[in-house]
């Protein structure tokens, strides 16, 4: 399956819904969206990966790049993911320590609010 991207605001945080496969072919589209959001001054992001079927290191690179961009504006990029197959790649690369990874979008928003 190809990559489907959508985004909407919730409680002042921009939620990015990702569906499908994030790989060397599709990752540039996610990168472009994250750059576009930052350029439009959305600095609090939650990337919902519950419908992601595949994620490789290219996708990880895009998420790390997005995190770097929002942090440059004192922002945040949290992830929503409960799928073991996707979480495994975050664990292998040690990126579980870099991203806030939550079970639901509401939980990610609440965690962000609690940090403010």
């Amino acid at each position: 399956m190809d990559l489907k991207l959508d985004h909407h605001s919730k409680d002042g945080i921009e939620i990015v819904d990702v569906e499908g496969e994030i790989d060397v072919y599709t990752a540039p589209r996610l990168r472009e969206l994250l750059i576009e959001l930052v350029n439009n001054r959305f600095y609090q992001l939650v990337v919902n990966m519950e419908k992601v079927e595949f994620l490789d290191s290219t996708g990880l690179g895009v998420l790390v790049g997005g995190l770097k961009r929002v942090r440059a504006h004192d922002g945040s990029l949290d992830l929503v993911c409960t799928q073991e197959r996707i979480l495994k790649i975050f664990r292998i690369t040690g990126l579980t320590k870099v991203f806030g990874i939550h079970d639901t979008v509401d939980e990610a928003i609440a965690a962000r609010r609690a940090e403010k």
């Binding site: 060397v24 072919y25 490789d56 290219t58 690179g61 895009v62 790649i89």
Partner: protein, 142 residues
């Protein structure tokens, strides 16, 4: 001789095809269902790495994937034909930077492969780089 061999143009769009073929052959070779995601991801990483190298230094050359059902092992070999001598910034196609296309830290793909495959062997020859990975299998089908 490999059970299945695949040769594809060095384009990111074909990496998905390579993943799908590798997963299908692994399943048929008796690799446990719980390992198929690892095979899929490791093969994708190796192919992505090869495609990026080819796009920079030898875009006309195909990437090769060999899938072999051995006795009790499923082996995957991804071979690029970018000779180490050709990998200098001066040879980069279209003046592109030799860095990864979308900001992946160098070596992350290899780190992922090493974290996923049961056994990994990376060899550089005068002809290019080969990544050989394997997983246990039932080895019942050829």
């Amino acid at each position: 001789m490999a059970t299945v061999e695949l040769s594809f143009t060095a384009l990111p769009a074909h990496v998905r095809t390579a993943r799908l073929v590798a997963t299908a052959v692994a399943r048929r070779s008796g690799v446990d269902e719980s390992l198929l995601d690892e095979v899929r991801l490791a093969v994708g990483e190796a192919c992505s790495r090869a495609v990026e190298g080819h796009q920079l230094y030898c875009p006309a050359e195909p990437v090769r994937l060999a899938l072999t059902d051995l006795a009790g092992r499923f082996e995957v070999e991804v071979t690029d034909t970018c000779a180490p001598d050709a990998r200098s910034p001066a040879n980069a196609a279209g003046g592109r930077s030799p860095g990864p296309a979308v900001g992946v830290p160098a070596g992350l793909g290899i780190a992922v492969i090493e974290g996923l495959a049961d056994e990994v062997q990376i060899s550089e020859t005068a002809a290019g780089t080969s990544i050989r990975m394997s997983w246990p299998s039932a080895g019942a089908h050829r």
